[in-house]
């Protein structure tokens, strides 16, 4: 297979300029209607962990050379390699790693939002007053943290399934 060269360098300055110009226009990825008023802003700087497993490919499809109208033939990404099963396992672990990275970001950002809410809305309060004030933000904090944990559990399971499917195709390889 001949590798396609990357014609990147000539376009790099234009690309960076475009990305820079677009930054303020980016859509807010995960605005929470129940907690829209963070002093940090209503956006979310983290990748959505629930999308990680779906982004994993681990398979390729090709047209049936004998029948162009037939459904594409799906083969495992590593089917032809002798260490296919090992690579599928490694890909599954990689999937988990990226999912954990995204979920950790969401958990940390939930903590940040809570902290900044308390620091701005409860400024100057101490003791019981501070505790009472901060409680109004606790529910949204818990919801966000729990949502990140739930996402992670689901994605780790999905990563395992994808990895097992990949390994299953190793056995089907010629």
């Amino acid at each position: 297979m001949t590798r396609a060269p990357l014609p990147l360098l000539r376009l790099l300055p234009l690309c960076l300029a475009a990305l820079f110009a677009l930054a303020p226009l980016a859509a807010r990825a995960d605005e929470d209607p129940n907690d829209p008023n963070s002093p940090l802003g209503s956006g979310n700087p983290c990748f959505d962990a629930s999308k990680v497993a779906d982004s994993l490919s681990l398979e390729s499809s090709a047209e049936d050379p004998n029948d162009p109208n037939a459904p594409p033939i799906v083969t495992g990404f590593f089917s032809a390699l002798p260490d296919c099963a090992k690579l599928c396992d490694k890909a599954g672990k990689l999937c988990e790693t990226f999912a954990k990275r995204a979920a950790s970001c969401e958990t940390r950002y939930a903590d940040d939002r809570f902290r900044f809410n308390v620091r701005t809305e409860c400024e100057g309060l101490h003791g019981a007053d501070l505790k009472t004030c901060s409680q109004q933000f606790e529910s949204a904090h818990q919801t966000r943290s729990q949502r990140a944990a739930d996402k992670l559990a689901a994605v780790v399971s999905a990563c395992g399934t994808r990895s097992a499917d990949c390994a299953g195709r190793c056995n089907a390889a010629p």
């Binding site: 590798r3 690309c15 990748f47 590593f78 990226f98």
Partner: protein
Amino acid sequence: MRLPELARAALIVGLACASALLAGGAARAAGEGSLFRDMVCRDMADIPGEFDFANSFVGLAGCDRLCLDATFVCLRAVTEATTCQLAFANDWIAFDSRLDCDGLSGTRLRDCKAGWALDRQTWRAFIKNQRLFAASSCLNAGSSCRGSCSGH
């Protein structure tokens, strides 16, 4: 140029550039399959736009400090996305090169690996440049925030 026109122009250039960046990977994805269909990290360029704290702390005693801390949160998010993208680039190239160079030997294997190493280097440089721009945007947001503190 009005903002919508600027945005449209930037979008066209950005898409052209993204296509160029991913041309090699996309070609491989279409023909050979690939480990990931999509990026699993945030784009650094989008991160500063997720924050909006310029006027959030106006009138508070700790306004300056809050602006500084909010800037650090933005910078940390950029660093996390950078780390994620660097890991993604490494993993993508490790897996795809493993497949691409499989069965080769001698000079062809060396050339294959060298080509992938060059792709990796180019990709990493691109990511690090993006990080600089995004971090700069976070710092600018912090400056605006502190300006709001003193201007009030």
